[in-house]
Point group: C2
Chain length 480, copies 2
């Protein structure tokens, strides 16, 4: 018996061999009537049932089969008479690998709030909801690499610690080994960063884009996939201080090629989830439906989770210029009736999430790609259009999520880029290498960034971003 | 002509269609006799030759075809009469996308030192050596995900910023938003970390292992793949302050299962490189051979790069207990002749890299897995063996690299782990969640860590670790 190799529950359920002796190891979800153990090992959301001959089993052992205990079960696989499962294990031998005292184990078989589960992030992976989310998150990670690898892109690990703070995407975390109580100082009494580990002030990256561009100017098509950071005091359900981003950069792509790639990419991810995570998605779909029932009618979604995913996979995204969008918004009901918090009065206004949601959810009722934004509300590296006032920027807007992708064609012309950098006052010494890309063998190129957790929110239907990353980092919270 | 879609050079060379009109975009490597352009676009190490009808081409244009310039070339694909290539493009139209002034562009067609190239990390991707390394690095990234995904493992993103400093793997970088010149202080005049972004002192992670263990205790088999950090002042060819690690953690694996997985994993990576990166490996193999010719005979490797890779892929690793290794080392020639810097006198000694190299390169002449180390020289979380003095630790040692993998069976018994934590004085409040894994449904489990850059060094044959990561971070260096 000792030598019988463990089989994963997913394997058993995918291709059951009735009558075969099997060993399963996992955690007890429930134990009913001193007889039926629901065992889960994380390989699938589905449990396997172990049927215990309780009359011939030591009572002390039976008492240790509690929710959360880890057990090893051996027995023959049989067709199940119970509903909801096709096969079960007729238990011959059971071993307790690790007890879970029912008085102390916090995950009893009842509904726990997501807030409570965040406090026990080391244990929430043992619930159906979170194991489903983490399996889907894995599937999406793999799909990202597969999508780009199949297209000849190369993954580039851009630096996490950066000496360059020119990107300007947000507030940064300082990285240091200086003694905080007594830092090295120079003659003028200022902090002497020459004494810091890297000999200068360093921060955690807010984006790998600029370094990614250097790589695409030799490898043609690259992508980054790594952690990025924002030291912003935003305690919302949409913000994390530490999150993962995917940033492809492509030589020889203009803004249209860029939009084509972005749309193909997110559709691929959604289709990959539909094809490979059907059990987990079915569970999360039902979970969301149950959740909706507790809400008043007008707050419920028009589409279920699965319907939303299929809708995105099957429909072309609407491509709309910023100028067209402003026209639509200016003439919209909520603008005329002054229902928007920020009323749209004219061209040049920065769009708020209420406007994006109106366009996506009310007007077009599908994902929207907005492009050609006013240059003054966009970043210095975006390519200036011939009209002299817009840049070739694009944002992909999703229902319920808002901006999920932001990108642009990059300014490849040395003179125009240099002028823009001077205008906004970035010292050239911080960007000499970025400018050199335009001095030596420059080429039209484009890229975008996808916030990975926003994408996982969309695919899982989870409304709080803290529930789609294993250990969320937010203001005042870096537990574990 | 404008609408002809660009074809990647790799595609053209893999399946050439003679007579077809094609468009290629890329960077000029060389331009010979005003006629032959070697063009590279990073999709492969191989260039395509464009043949220019120089008599009918504007002389001003010809002058702009210089090494490093970015061009777009259109013409018919023809069989090549030149040697070293099967096909070439008979150029009909050529467009300069970006010039490269030969007086200023630093990458002229001659051999540059690796040290020089590190200073222009934003451009070195345009050399054969570095584009080959980065393509192989990508292939290895994909292979890591494929290996684990095919086996039902889930990738888990463990936190980069951590409030826990219990792992003890090395010196840490502090992450902070406190004003360095004037940090918040408490009543006693100490730094008041409650005012810092996370409400406590936080650092960059040195390992995702402990958090990874929480995930394997619900999903069974997981792996991490992310950046890790060491604030150690080591200016060597083997150390980086920022590097990537892969850390699988598996429930229900003992130390033997762990060794089996580690061996299968690195063999898979090596085989994947041999199968998928043959052009790049052939180039690096030749590069290393040329390099060796400049060295005295006794410093040359016995095996070429390709031979070393095949050797690892085809041979079982030697599994040796620490105790056996000490016996071998004690009776070895260099120990008896006092050639080791650290002489091996008895059981309990920590092994130095000279000892590991002797075992791997001289004694066994193959990769070695050392296991069952004295508990006093290993980490607190490693499982104690029944002998009372060793732990179920393992290190995989590679020729030329030394330790490439370190791992262990983890201590799953609450009482023994708690005692060990108390012995070495880690406050329980820092590890309450780690201890709880052993309170609730504990199980035997194991894991290991692979230093990704060490692996890339082995696969590419590069001797300095700064050459296998795009933007190396080392003491006094965080450029770009």
């Amino acid at each position: 018996m000792k030598d019988l190799k463990r089989t994963k529950i997913k394997e058993l359920l995918d291709a059951p061999v009735i009558g075969k002796k099997v060993n399963v190891k996992g955690w007890v979800r429930t134990f009913r009537n001193n007889q039926f153990i629901a065992i889960n090992d994380g390989s699938t959301i589905n449990n396997i049932q172990g049927v215990v001959d309780f009359e011939n089993t030591d009572e002390k052992l039976l008492k240790r089969i509690t929710t959360g205990a880890c057990i090893s079960v051996t027995g023959d696989l049989a067709e199940s008479k119970g509903k909801g499962q096709s096969v079960e294990i007729i238990v011959e031998n059971i071993e307790i690998l690790g007890d879970a005292d029912p008085e102390k184990f916090p995950l009893q078989p009842k509904k726990h709030s997501l807030e409570f589960l965040r406090e026990i992030a080391h244990l929430r992976v043992r619930t159906n909801t979170f194991s489903a989310i983490y399996r889907i998150r894995h599937a999406m990670i793999f799909a990202v690499h597969k999508f780009f690898t199949d297209r000849g892109f190369y993954n580039v690990h851009t630096p996490i610690i950066t000496g360059s703070d020119a990107e300007g995407a947000g507030e940064m975390f300082r990285v240091t080994t200086l003694d905080p109580a007594n830092p090295a100082k120079d003659e003028d009494g200022n902090i002497n960063y020459k004494e810091d580990f890297f000999g200068k002030e360093t921060n955690l990256t807010v984006s790998g884009q600029l370094e990614g561009e250097t790589a695409c100017m030799g490898l043609s098509e690259i992508y980054t996939f790594g952690p990025t950071f924002r030291a912003e005091n935003s305690n919302t359900s949409r913000h994390l201080a530490e999150f993962w981003m995917i940033e492809p950069e492509m030589a020889f792509y203009d803004i249209n090629d860029n939009m084509d790639l972005a749309e193909a990419f997110v559709k691929y991810l959604v289709n990959y989830a539909l094809d490979n995570c059907s059990d987990d998605l079915a569970f999360l779909n039902q979970r969301a439906l149950d959740d909706e029932k507790t809400k008043p009618q007008q707050e419920r979604s028009e589409l279920s989770l699965l319907e939303r995913l299929k809708f995105v996979a099957e429909n072309d995204f609407e491509r709309v210029t910023y100028t067209e969008a402003i026209d639509i918004l200016r003439n919209s009901k909520p603008n005329k009736k002054k229902k928007f918090q920020y009323l749209i009065e004219g061209w040049g206004a920065d769009l708020q999430s209420e406007h994006e949601r109106f366009l996506v959810e009310k007007h077009f009722k599908k994902p929207v790609i907005l492009y050609n934004y006013p240059k003054d509300i966009k970043a210095f590296y975006m390519r200036q259009n011939d009209d002299g006032k817009t840049v070739a920027a694009m944002d992909v807007l999703f229902p319920g999520i808002g901006e999920i992708i932001g990108g642009s064609q990059r300014e490849e012309r040395y003179g125009i880029l240099k002028q823009r950098i001077d205008e906004i006052g970035i010292p050239e010494k911080d960007l000499w290498w970025y400018l050199e890309l335009r001095k030596f063998g420059s080429a039209p190129h484009s890229g975008f960034g996808l916030g990975f957790e926003r994408m996982i929110q969309f695919v899982t239907g989870m409304t709080n971003i803290r529930d789609v990353i294993p250990f969320p980092r937010t203001p005042d919270n870096a537990e574990f």
